[in-house]
Symmetry: C2
Subunit: 397 residues, 2 copies
């Protein structure tokens, strides 16, 4: 092999090594937030491709509207108006490659190295990773079963400002929070809006689980409670159709979209995918969501039951009204981080709390995703999980 | 309306305003590089969705391999080995949202503000825009009908280095160059590789038109002529299936992919689209490319004939062996830039040379894309173009 060219000196100062990596699966996969492959609406999607092509297949020849298919944006705006009480049109929105891209470009638009960014005490690690990538100092706010604790929010902001820090924004997943599973109450949302407003801080609302409610009462979006353009909103089709569609959206004031857009390479999203989703929305999406939520509640119940049967009273867990996650608390001092890879090798995968924590604390928590495996596999897997923990003497009980 | 929140102080130092904008069409659209909507393989794509779903539709439930569908990468690697003589496997590649995203993340990985980046004297404006976005000082290299002129390349590099500038890389579109239409000869490619090698500069090869050869002899890729990892390669399905698929690929040494990847938000490309393209490649892609090229040569001939019939001898143009563009030279001093918007309003659209130029020169050139309109429309449109230029007295003849 010839001597290889050395790129070392050529890389930009901003670049870091970030191998795309690969995905690993365990026998009982409670780690990654996949939907159930058996509930995918594949036949409906084929029909949607056909009717999409009939309607406007020739549009594929064009580099479509950079904001993404206007028809899909219109349908999303209607859905958000109806279900999340948002005052929004197709023009207030851009389509993105999943909500991940929306989150990434908003973070880049709003974050300089050293800025303080507020998050829930445990929060989606993909967002934490992107915030850290661009130099944010992520600070967690304490939460209880109703969401962010307003007093803690206020005192953290005051404290950070006193230190001379610039507090840029609050990122929140208020519905079926990832990983904690709670939904923030209306009262809390209003309080959070009030406190951030007092301090001049926008709220970045990640509502990607909003459709996955299978019990309890709907709570309106942060976005609907604000009329000053201070809430930036992202949503996604990953959880209600499939992650492999890579389709999300960003709703924000025009100036925010313009700044975020300056970090987007590659132009509009796949028009082929957008066209298909638009047709799917016209037909079967509500029925599909309903069926999916019926499946999810059965899985949640199975996991809750299995936890009850297999774990002692020193372990506790949440019972969410929607979403994909059960948040399990092991006794203080239990270290679920160190054994995680071994337990993966044993056949059960999960994420531990420290992975979701701005401060790296919380290794006595684990997030279990019940969305992917069938009910029977959940039962088996939770029993297996308990056995492995006993065998490895991970915590006393 | 409530007083709106002011984001001014919150935006990051790196962000700029970059509205997604919208796309405009004229009656005779020779501006944007669209394929012909009537040649899109819509029925084949529907079949591909079906067989893709049968084979691995359930994979949509997963956040797929971050590098993109392994099956599609394998098929692309085989195609590049066979047709571009490249030594490449699925592991040397990541899928991207069109080649635009690949170009954007490579530019970010290799460019610090103030770096010199070399380009052909006229070159794809999307790339120029992205280079400028990240602070590159773009410097054009003179070209003739065989491509980059080696002596100019050598002297420009020497000159820039003498000024203390860091010359980072050479970006080139060596096959059916955009906008000039030539294909770089094998001899020139070797010379360009030699000169950049002497100066320690990588070559960034954008081969997105490689499949669109309808006459003349194939010329191998830059990538195949190098065994030191010094050539970074991008390709795309935009020109051989449809831009609306948003599917491209980046072939590069692992360390380059890792650095480029650090600027990609949103994870893998649409698995739905990737799956469909993989199935389409297994079946009908060669036949489709053949049919498309038969259509393109007829269009090129129609445009060349119409230019001959309607334009006097003071205007000259290239006759490309492939691709989508005819590069038209008007007499020195003709200003095709100032009248461009008026002529768009009159019904004919094109891009003028200054838009493709690092230095902003060349407004006596225009790029005409013959890929999109039917033959009859090309004939009419070129006649109309000549009439408009006469009426507006744009140049003497």
């Amino acid at each position: 092999m010839a001597e290889q060219f050395q790129y070392g000196d050529i890389f930009s100062a901003n670049s870091i090594e970030a191998s795309p990596g690969s995905v690993r699966h365990s026998k009982y996969d409670f780690a990654v937030a996949y939907p159930d492959p058996d509930t995918l609406p594949l036949n409906d999607l084929i029909d949607a491709v056909k009717s999409g092509f009939e309607r406007e297949g020739k549009d594929l020849a064009y580099y479509s509207s950079p904001s993404g298919d206007p028809e899909l944006r219109k349908l999303v705006a209607e859905k958000l108006s109806l279900e999340r009480n948002m005052t929004v049109t197709a023009d207030d929105m851009v389509l993105t490659s999943g909500s991940g891209e929306a989150i990434g470009i908003v973070i880049q638009a709003l974050t300089d190295p050293g800025d303080v960014v507020l998050v829930e005490e445990f929060v989606y690690l993909g967002t934490l990773n992107q915030m850290r990538r661009y130099g944010a100092d992520c600070v967690g706010i304490k939460c209880d079963d109703d969401g962010i604790i307003p007093e803690d929010l206020d005192s953290v902001i005051t404290e950070q400002k006193a230190k001379g820090k610039k507090v840029k924004y609050l990122y929140t997943i208020p519905a079926f929070q990832n990983p904690m599973g709670w939904t923030m109450s209306l009262e809390r949302r209003k309080q959070v809006l009030g406190i951030t407003g007092k301090h001049g801080i926008p709220v970045f609302e990640d509502d990607c689980y909003a459709d996955l409610r299978f019990s309890g009462e709907n709570v309106t979006s942060f976005h609907s409670l604000d009329d000053t353009g201070r809430v930036i909103y992202v949503g996604s089709f990953s959880k209600i159709i499939a992650p492999g569609m890579r389709m999300g959206y960003l709703v924000a004031p025009k100036e925010v979209i313009a700044r975020a857009w300056s970090f987007k390479s590659g132009g509009a999203v796949s028009q082929f995918t957008a066209l298909t989703i638009a047709e799917f929305m016209k037909g079967n999406i509500d029925r599909h969501i309903e069926e999916q939520n019926e499946s999810l509640i059965a899985k949640r119940d199975a996991m809750v039951a299995a936890l009850g049967e297999n774990f002692g009273s020193t372990v506790s867990w949440t019972v969410p009204d929607g979403g994909l996650y059960i948040w399990v608390k092991f006794p203080e001092g239990t270290d679920m981080a160190t054994v995680q890879e071994d337990i993966f090798q044993d056949g059960v995968s999960y994420y531990n709390g420290s992975q979701f924590s701005a401060s790296g604390e919380g290794s006595n928590y684990v997030r279990l995703c019940f969305g992917h495996p069938p009910v029977e596999t959940i039962r088996e897997g939770i029993a297996e999980f308990a056995k492995i923990l006993d065998r490895r003497k991970v915590f006393p009980r």
